[in-house]
Structure formats: structure tokens, C-alpha cells
Symmetry: C2
Subunit: 355 residues, 2 copies
Amino acid sequence: MKIAILPGDGIGPEIVTQAVKVLNALGEQFELETAPVGGAGYEASGHPLPDATLQLAKDADAVLFGAVGDWKYDTLDRPLRPEQAILGLRKNLGLFGNLRPAILYPELANASTLKPEIVSGLDILIVRELTGDIYFGQPRGVRECPDGPFKGQREGFDTMRYAEGEIRRIAHVAFQAAQKRDKRLTSVDKANVLETFQFWKDIVTDVHKEYPDVALDHMYVDNAAMQLVRAPKKFDVIVTGNMFGDILSDAAAMLTGSIGMLPSASLDANNKGLYEPSHGSAPDIAGKGIANPLATILSAAMMLRFSLNKEEQANRIENAVKKVLAQGLRTADIYEAGTTKVGTEEMGNAVVKAL
Amino acid sequence: MKIAILPGDGIGPEIVTQAVKVLNALGEQFELETAPVGGAGYEASGHPLPDATLQLAKDADAVLFGAVGDWKYDTLDRPLRPEQAILGLRKNLGLFGNLRPAILYPELANASTLKPEIVSGLDILIVRELTGDIYFGQPRGVRECPDGPFKGQREGFDTMRYAEGEIRRIAHVAFQAAQKRDKRLTSVDKANVLETFQFWKDIVTDVHKEYPDVALDHMYVDNAAMQLVRAPKKFDVIVTGNMFGDILSDAAAMLTGSIGMLPSASLDANNKGLYEPSHGSAPDIAGKGIANPLATILSAAMMLRFSLNKEEQANRIENAVKKVLAQGLRTADIYEAGTTKVGTEEMGNAVVKAL
Ligand SMILES: CC(C)[C@H](C(=O)O)[C@@H](O)C(=O)O
Ligand SMILES: CC(C)[C@H](C(=O)O)[C@@H](O)C(=O)O
């Protein structure tokens, strides 16, 4: 089995190194091949997603991705900026199904900015559509405003869109995920304002007929943002579009106070996937050896489960992570008095030992 | 001075009654005229925004609005649903500038789901553009998908757009609001993905030249959703588009745990405005006499300040509200042990007494 390793920028290389170490310690035969992406891709060959990197990702059975982005690339033209690499990978590989768990480990309950009773035991899954919506819709650009009170001025514009089949396939992913959990799905839309999301709501309601064992409800995105703050534990699985999912999944991750712990998976129609931590490239702490590698290690576990069909090895990694937390080991981002502060490499070594 | 009173649905009539009582107790001469809106408008004349109601709102110097919506209208066609009234009022009256303060009163610090140290003293202002963006952009609808892998299927679509002048005028509102506060403005966009918001960012940056005393920064909407949960007090004024503002302002309001306390203003180019509580119509508690009227009373205070040029009377109302809170009076939504639970009318009477 071939795994493309794309470390990227900032803390990306450090945390991916630890995840690779954990993968290698499983005693399985993986073919790992590394390629530059993001700012590193731009440095190497003038583009954030070099052709060879994209080809490697296409040829591999799964992609383990670190993080991209650094302030030094902020002045580049948009098509050359690091984050275009991740958008390009999603689109070119057809990775439409983004699974983002927001889990609060009991040992880390204090890390949240929310009161313990509101978040302790939090375990929700956000299913975000990842290749449609206003992220990729055409036409878009800056043009002369064609009508209305601002006619003749310049205007920026984008197109939000979802086709029926696009909504159906992400709805299936979400209903099936709910079936494996508490069997409750909340579809988040803005059907009271947007045609796209009235259509979304209608299609999700239709797909629901195939999953009578799952309880479906619909919630407006503004209300969902409120309920995540008010009573996040009431959710089980949330499914939503690319744009709303971007916002809500980050808010949900932050509820845990330990975004350094949260993995994510982005899957295509055949469960090939790209796996990356939910946090970013944190250039401010890059190279200091203090970044938390656990989100990336847990992303590798998701990769074993979803793309490589190795549930048992996935569980081994997840249990090892729980064990090091129980041992009191903490990187700086989740450190509190009474625990043991460790660096990136020590944390990776501890997980290997706990396997 | 003529004020249009639009109570609406659910708890709308009860809470507006209290705000009107407070206005009448100021000893000023206001001409108040009431009209049905939302579900009540639909019942009265078959449309959520009856012509006579819209005409009254146009003729008035300001509009005091309760809330609209009830489950019983959920099955109506979208153009007939209660919330279309508020969209219609915004668009027809040109109310592009939405000011939504999120303030945590010291007495209510416990009401928040966030830890006291994260939110105590919270005082942020969200400036949301209210008549543009994907809310009103044409074309929109359901059509045959014109291209790509889903070609030929049905698809829902909408258009996001912002013209230069539209961005400039809301930027001016936001910079001027920041000048009266801590002189810090965060413009929230998604310039890394959307053409509309790269354009937004460029124009806001340009308007900044006229306000050198205000510190401007730019933040992606997903990050803003995270920072609101992580460290909301770091914000002073936030300015953003209609869609992102809808989501972020509700999240920010919920941080306080006391959305029943939060007023809002929606202003046109001449400071004529519509004033409404940030909460909804709460049909589940309508008619029970337990709804919190303070957000509506504080909305009346904003009306006096922004549209009627009566700063002193606005302050009188705001101080009266602080006084009743200090006296320990609480409606059910903000009640906690050790305080005195009162109903909607008692709360209104207490504010009148405290004036
Ligand atoms: C970097 C950016 C384009 C990306 C997105 O908006 O999808 C990121 O925020 C994410 O959620 O992975
Ligand atoms: C009712 C709805 C159309 C409205 C909006 O989305 O603007 C509401 O959520 C608000 O924020 O006033």
C-alpha cells in the first residue's frame, strides 16, 4: 500500500515526522513517498501543488498531509498561495466527503473555554461537503456591476451551487456515519434565504427515506452556530455544505480547546482519502519542537480505518494516544499544572512506546 | 416624530408592548402607529409584509420591530413565510448597516456557557452589511446544471456579490463606530477562497486610509468563528458581509448567554433605522407572559440614539435597565438562584419606575 506523505509548511514537517514514526512502528509494510506541497511546493518548483506532487497523490492509496501556509507567502498572487494546494488536491482527487470529529478527551476537559458541564464528553462529527458550493462555483471574478443602484461600478462575485447528485452522495456519507453512532443527523442549511440550500434541504429529506433508522432534523446555519455554543452535546452528526462546514467545523473544534488533538479525513467515492490535522501550520512555533503531533497521528489512524482497511491498527494508535494522555504527557498547547510537559518528538516516542 | 410599531409574531407583541410603555414614559411626543408583519401580516392580508405596513415603515422616522415566525407558517411557500417580511423591509428601506452589540452585563456573567474569565466584561460590536451579498444577489434558483460531472441534473444556485460602493459605505459605518470605541476594527472575509471577499478586503483596506486612527486587521471567517470561542474579548468592532455576519453575530450573541438582553439597529444612509431584539419570536413561550422584554427596550434606546437624535433619553433607558438588573430582577431566561424572578410585564414596569 502506497501512502503519499505531504508535510507542507510551518509545523507540518515536524508533526508528520512523528506520525510516520508511528506508522512505521505498526509492523506493516507501507510504501511511503514524500513530496513538497504548499509554500514548500512553491519553493521547490514555483507552484504550491507541483505536478509531481499531484501525480503522487493520485497514484497513492492515501495521502497524509501536514499543514500549509506561512506569512511569507501572503504577498503572492492568489493562485500561487499555499492554501491553493489543499483546494487543488480536494478538487483533483474528488475528495468530497470531509469528516471532522470534535471530541473532548476527558483528561483535557479544562482546556476548553466553555464550562466543563457544557463540553465534557463532547463527541460530535461534522460531515462537510468539500468539492462543491461557492468554493468552486463558476462564474466568479471582478466585473462591472450589471444592474441595481451600483450599476457600472466594479463588483466582486461568486457562484454558490449544488447539484442533486452532489448533495445525495454527501447525504449518504452522513447518514451512514450517523448509523454507526447515535443515529441522529442534523442537516444545516439556510433554506430561508438561499435557493441552493432549500434545494439541499429537499434532497437530504429525500435521501432520508433510505435511512429510516436515523433521526433527521434541519437547522439554519445561524442557529447552528448558536447551538454549538449553547449546548454542543445535543448534536450527534452534522452535515452541511462546504462554506458553512468550514465555519462550523472550526467553531466546533475550538469548543474542545484542544484543536491540536483533532484529526480529519477527506474521502472520495471509493474511500481513498487525504488525512490532515484540523489545525493549521502555526508558523510562529515552527521548528521549535513544541508542536502537538497528536492530531496528525490520529489522522494516520483515520487513514488506516477508512482508506487502508486496517481497523485494528487504527484502534491501536487511538488507544496509544489515550494512554499517553492518561500518563499525563502534554505538549505546550494542552499543558496544565500537574501534568508533564513534553515536546513534539517526546510525544511521538511516547505514542510509539504505548502502541 | 413618527415611529412605526411592528410587533410581529410569537412573543413579539408582548415585548413590544413593554418597549412602547417605556417610550411613553419618557415624556416626549411620539406618534406611534402599529401595523401587522410576518405571520400576523399574512393573517391580516395574505402577505408577510402587507403594502400598508411597508408604506407605514417608509413614512416613519424609525421602526420598532418585535419578532416574526411561527412553526405554523413553515409549510407556506417561501415568499409568504414570515421572515420574508424582515428581508423585504431591509431591502425596501435600504437598511444596509446592521449594528449588533454583544455585551455581557456583569450581573449576568454566569448566564454564559463560557468560563467567566473568557467572557466577563465582553463588549464587542458586530457591523453586518444587510442588503447585499448572497442574500439578494441575482441570478438564483433551481436550474439544469450546465457543466461539470453533474451536467444535466437539477442544481440549486445563488449569486454572492458586493459592489465597490456597497463595501465602502458599510466600511465607513464600521470605522466610525470603531472611532467611538477602542479604535480597533477586524474585517472578516474569506479572501483565500472567494473573489467577492478578496475584493471586499481590498476596498476595506482602501477606506482605512481615511481612518488612520483606527487599527485595522483582516481575519478569515473560519478563524473568526474560532477566535470568538477562544478569546472573544480580543475583538472591538467586527465588520463583515451579510452571510458571515448572520452566523458570527448569532454566535457572538450566544457567548453572552443572555441573548434576551441584546438589541440591534439596522440603518440606512440617513440614519433612519429599524430596531429589533437579536432574539427570535420564541413561539414556544408566546402568550405566557415570561419573555424577556429588555432586548426590545434596549432596541428602543438605540432608536432614540441613532434615528431620533435623543442621546439623553437613550441613556436614561439604558441606565434604567442596568438599575433593574442591579436590583436583582430577572426574567426566566436569565434567572439564577438568589435573584428575583419576574414576568414580562413586571420587568417592563420596573424599567419604567427606574427611569
Ligand atoms: C485553507 C482554506 C482554503 C481551507 C478551507 O477554507 O477549506 C481551510 O480553512 C480548511 O478548512 O481546510
Ligand atoms: C430570518 C432571517 C432571514 C434573518 C437573516 O438571515 O438575516 C435572521 O437570521 C437575522 O439575522 O435577522
